[in-house]
C-alpha cells in the first residue's frame, strides 16, 4: 500500500459533487410507448441538393430525415427517384424474398439445423434499396445484417443456405459462422465478426479504385452501436483525407444487442452528423422508406463517381426482431415499441405505394408471398441434401488446414495428418 487514497471521492472539497450520467432508453418492458419525441418531417422538408454542392452547404441534411413516401403512400418531393414500375415491383419482391428467407432460416436454427442466425426484419430496405442504387460492379463491405445485398444481386439462395448449414457444399468449407458470407463475384466482401473492421478496408478499396482510374466505388455498412469503434473513425478519416469514392452507411436500428443507441452517443446528436467534423456530407435517411434509401444512395454514388469523395448515410430504422437467435428483446424493451414504430414497415410501405399507383393489388401480393416462401422452402430442401450442421455431411478434415497460407507449411501438414488419423479412429468407416 502506498497510503494514497485511490477511491476518488470529494475528499476535502466543499465544491458541489458531480454526478455521472448513464443513458437510459425511453421505455423498458411493461412501459407504455410514446414516440412523440421523434421528429418526423414531411417528405422534402429538406430539398435535394445538387451532387456537386459543397459539404458545408448541406449541414441540415445531417439533422433532418430524407423521406420520399408520404403518409398517403405517394412518392413526393425532390428526392423522389421516379423509379419505373418494374423496378418498384422487383424491389418489393426482393424484400419479400429476404423476409421469407429470414423467417425460414431462423426457424431452421430453432430446429437445430444450424448454430446461429440473424434476421434483418424491418430493415430490408436498407441493404436492398442501396444495392438497387449501386452498380453491379461496385464493391460492398457489409456488416452481418446486409444479406439484402446478396438477394438484390441474385446470389443463389441454395448456396446461402449451404453456408448457413456449414454443409459439404458450403463454399467456405464450414469455416465461418452462419451468415458470414463471402462472394467476390457478387461484389460482397468476406464478412468479419469484428465490428467495423470493414470501414477502413472499404476506404482502402475505394482509394485503390481511384488510384487506378477505375470507375467502381465502394460502400460499407455498420450498426449505430458500432460507430463507437475506432475503425469507424479510421475509415472516415481515410475516406475524407483521400477523397475516396466510398459510401459509409450507419444503420441506426436503435439497438446494439440490448444497449440502446444512447450508448453510442445518440442523446447528443445524430449519427449522420459525425460526417460534419470530417467535412463530408452526412445524410439522415428514413431507412424504412426504400425510395428514400435508393435516392440517398444514388445521390452519394453520383457524387463519388464525379470524384467528389465519400458520403455518410444514416439509415434511421428499427430492429423489429431479436439481435440474433441468441437474444431475447422482450427482456429489455417494451413489447409495444415495434408495433408503434412511427416509420412503419418497409415492405408494407412500398406495397401500399404500388397498390395506390395501380400497379399492384392484395391478391398479387399474397400470391407473391406464397411464391417466395415456396422458393425458399425448395432451396432449403435442396441444401439439406448436402447436410446440416453436425450431421456428418461436412468437409474432409484436411480442408481445415487449407487456405491458412497459400501453401501449407510443414507444421500444418503435420497437424493435418494428425487430424486425419484421429478421424479414422473416431469414426471408423
Amino acid at each position: 500500500m502506498n497510503g494514497r487514497d485511490n477511491t476518488g471521492g470529494t475528499s476535502g472539497s466543499n465544491k458541489p459533487g458531480l454526478t455521472l450520467h448513464i443513458p437510459e432508453p425511453p421505455f423498458r418492458p411493461g412501459d407504455p410507448v410514446d414516440y412523440s419525441y421523434l421528429e418526423i418531417p414531411r417528405p422534402d422538408a429538406i430539398a435535394r441538393p445538387d451532387e456537386t454542392a459543397a459539404a458545408r452547404s448541406m449541414v441540415d441534411l445531417a439533422y433532418g430525415l430524407i423521406r420520399v413516401l408520404d403518409d398517403d403512400n405517394r412518392a413526393v418531393g425532390s428526392w423522389n427517384p421516379h423509379l419505373d414500375d418494374t423496378t418498384l415491383l422487383r424491389m418489393l419482391r426482393t424484400m419479400a424474398l429476404q423476409r421469407a428467407f429470414d423467417d425460414r432460416l431462423f426457424r431452421a436454427q430453432r430446429q437445430g439445423k444450424t448454430s446461429f442466425y440473424m434476421k434483418a426484419t424491418g430493415e430490408e430496405a436498407v441493404a436492398i434499396g442501396a444495392t438497387f442504387a449501386l452498380d453491379r460492379e461496385d464493391m460492398c463491405f457489409p456488416s452481418y445484417r446486409q444479406q439484402g445485398i446478396l438477394f438484390a444481386r441474385d446470389y443463389p439462395i441454395v448456396q446461402m443456405i449451404n453456408q448457413i448449414y456449414s454443409n459439404r457444399l458450403d463454399p467456405l468449407f464450414g469455416r465461418q459462422l452462419p451468415i458470414m458470407y463471402s462472394a467476390r463475384a457478387y461484389g460482397f466482401f468476406t464478412l468479419s465478426g469484428n465490428l467495423t473492421t470493414q470501414y477502413p478496408q472499404a476506404a482502402g478499396w475505394a482509394m485503390a479504385s481511384a488510384s487506378k482510374g477505375d470507375s467502381r466505388i465502394a460502400a460499407t455498412w455498420c450498426g449505430e452501436g458500432s460507430t463507437s469503434e475506432g475503425d469507424f473513425h479510421n475509415g472516415l478519416t481515410f475516406g475524407a483525407v483521400y477523397n475516396a469514392p466510398c459510401i459509409f452507411n450507419v444503420v441506426n436500428n436503435q439497438y446494439a444487442i440490448s444497449s440502446y443507441s444512447g450508448f453510442a452517443g445518440s442523446e447528443r446528436t445524430t449519427f449522420a452528423a459525425r460526417a460534419i467534423g470530417y467535412g463530408i456530407p452526412g445524410l439522415r435517411v428514413d431507412g424504412n422508406d426504400i425510395l428514400a434509401v435508393y435516392a440517398a444512395t444514388n445521390w452519394a454514388a453520383n457524387r463519388a463517381r464525379l470524384n467528389l469523395g465519400p458520403t455518410l448515410l444514416e439509415l434511421f430504422t428499427y430492429r423489429a426482431e431479436a439481435h440474433s437467435t441468441s437474444d431475447d428483446p422482450s427482456a429489455y424493451r417494451s413489447a409495444q415499441e415495434r408495433q408503434e414504430w412511427p416509420l412503419g414497415d418497409p415492405i408494407t410501405r412500398l406495397k401500399r405505394h404500388c397498390i395506390d399507383k395501380g400497379i399492384w393489388d392484395i391478391a398479387r401480393q399474397e400470391a407473391m408471398d406464397l411464391e417466395v416462401a415456396q422458393e425458399v422452402q425448395a432451396a432449403q430442401k435442396e441444401a439439406e441434401q448436402n447436410g446440416i450442421l453436425g450431421h456428418g455431411l461436412h468437409q474432409p478434415d484436411q480442408t481445415m488446414f487449407q487456405d491458412v497460407y497459400e501453401e501449407m507449411p510443414w507444421h500444418l501438414r503435420e497437424q493435418s495428418e494428425q487430424a486425419i488419423r484421429e478421424r479414422a479412429l473416431k469414426w471408423p468407416e
Binding site: 478496408q201 488510384s211 479510421n234 475509415g235 487456405d403 497460407y405 510443414w410
Partner: protein, 334 residues
C-alpha cells in the same frame, strides 16, 4: 549498401516491376520515412504509389487490406514496432484470416514493414521486439533480416508472396552490423561481405535459414541484431559454434535447425525480446521434441529481461556479450 539502402532498393525494384505495388505510412512520402527507407520513391513513382497517411495504425493496415482486396500489393510502413499495437486487430482478425475465412475468394498480399529492437536509446516505446505476438497468429508470416543482402532479397520475396507478411527490420543494424559492444565506435556496412548487394532484382526465399558459420560444438539460433552479437561472442570464446540466422520465424526452417542440433548436441537460443513466452520458448520446445536424444546439455535461452525496455539502463537490458558468453560457457561445460 547499408541495410537502409538495400531496403530502399528492394522497394524501388519492385515498384518499377509491378505497378500494383504501393507504399504508404506516416511520413513515408515526401520525407522518405523517419529512417529514410522510402527516400526518393515518391519523386520517382509519384504520389499515387508512395504517400503519407493519417496517424492511425489500424487505419493504415485496414486501408491496405482493402487495397489488397482490390488487387494492389500494398507495403505499409509502421514507424516503430511499438506502434503496431493499435493496428493489431486489423492484422490478427483481418489480414491473417481473409484467405481462410473466404476460402481464397479474397486474398491479402500485404507486406507490413516495421523497424524493431533496441539499442538506439529509444526508451520503452521505441525499442520493443514484439515478434512472438505475430508468430502466434496463424495466417501471417514473420520475416526478420540481419544484413543488407538478406534484407533486400527477403523483402522482395515478401512483396511477391500472396500471404500477409510482417517484415521486421532490426533498426540497430540499419547502418552497420552491431556486435553488442555499445561502448566501441559503431561499424558501418562498408566492408562487410553481406553488404555487397546486387542493384537489380533477386530474392531470398522465405522459410530458409542461413548457416552463418559452420561448427561442430554447439548450435546457436538467432535472428536480426542478435546474429551479429552471437557471432562475435563465439569468435571471442574460441568455440566451434554453428550459427544459424533463422531469417524467417514463420515459416520456420525446421530441417536446418534439426540437422544442426543433431550434429552438435547443444543448442543456445538468443533473442532480444523479453523472455517469457518469447519465440525462444517455441524454438526450445521444438528442439526438445525433435532432438532430445541427441542433446548433451539442456537447451539455453539468452533473452532480454521481463521488464519494459528502460531508457538509461538499456545496455543492462540488452542481451550482450557477457550474458551470451556465460550461457556458452555453461553449455560447453556439460
Amino acid at each position: 549498401m547499408s541495410m537502409i539502402q538495400a531496403l530502399n532498393s528492394a522497394l524501388d525494384v519492385m515498384m518499377a516491376r509491378d505497378d500494383r505495388v504501393v507504399v504508404l505510412g506516416e511520413d513515408v512520402g515526401y520525407f522518405g520515412g523517419v529512417f529514410r527507407v522510402t527516400a526518393g520513391l515518391q519523386t520517382k513513382f509519384g504520389k499515387q504509389r508512395c504517400f503519407d497517411t493519417p496517424i492511425t495504425e489500424c487505419g493504415i493496415i485496414g486501408a491496405a487490406i482493402g487495397m489488397a482486396a482490390y488487387g494492389l500489393r500494398p507495403v505499409p510502413e509502421i514507424q516503430f514496432a511499438d506502434y503496431i499495437y493499435p493496428g493489431l486487430d486489423q492484422i490478427i482478425s483481418e489480414a491473417a484470416r481473409i484467405r481462410y475465412r473466404s476460402a481464397a475468394d479474397f486474398i491479402c498480399p500485404l507486406t507490413i514493414r516495421v523497424p524493431f529492437g533496441g539499442g538506439i536509446f529509444g526508451g520503452q516505446t521505441h525499442s520493443q521486439s514484439p515478434e512472438s505476438l505475430f508468430t502466434h497468429v496463424t495466417g501471417i508470416k514473420t520475416v526478420i533480416p540481419s544484413n543488407p543482402h538478406d534484407a533486400k532479397g527477403l523483402l522482395i520475396a515478401a512483396m511477391e508472396d500472396n500471404d500477409p507478411v510482417i517484415f521486421m527490420e532490426p533498426k540497430r543494424c540499419y547502418n552497420g552490423p552491431f556486435d553488442g559492444y555499445y561502448d566501441r565506435p559503431a561499424k558501418s556496412w562498408a566492408d562487410h561481405p553481406d553488404a555487397d548487394v546486387d542493384e537489380g532484382y533477386f530474392r531470398v526465399p522465405l522459410g530458409q535459414a542461413r548457416i552463418v558459420r559452420e561448427g561442430g560444438d554447439l548450435t546457436i539460433l538467432a535472428y536480426g541484431t542478435m546474429v551479429h552479437v552471437a557471432h562475435k561472442v563465439i569468435d571471442e570464446h574460441g568455440i566451434d559454434g554453428e550459427l544459424i540466422d533463422l531469417r524467417s520465424l514463420v515459416p520456420l526452417d525446421i530441417a536446418t535447425i534439426e540437422a544442426s542440433v543433431r550434429k552438435t548436441g547443444r543448442c543456445l537460443i538468443v533473442h532480444e525480446a523479453t523472455r517469457t513466452s518469447g519465440f525462444g520458448a517455441e524454438l526450445s520446445a521444438l528442439v526438445q521434441e525433435r532432438c532430445f536424444y541427441h542433446l548433451e546439455a539442456p537447451i539455453e535461452r539468452v533473452t532480454g529481461f521481463d521488464t519494459p525496455y528502460p531508457h538509461s539502463l538499456e545496455w543492462s537490458y540488452f542481451p550482450g556479450p557477457i550474458r551470451i558468453g556465460e550461457a556458452l560457457d555453461r553449455l560447453m561445460r556439460e
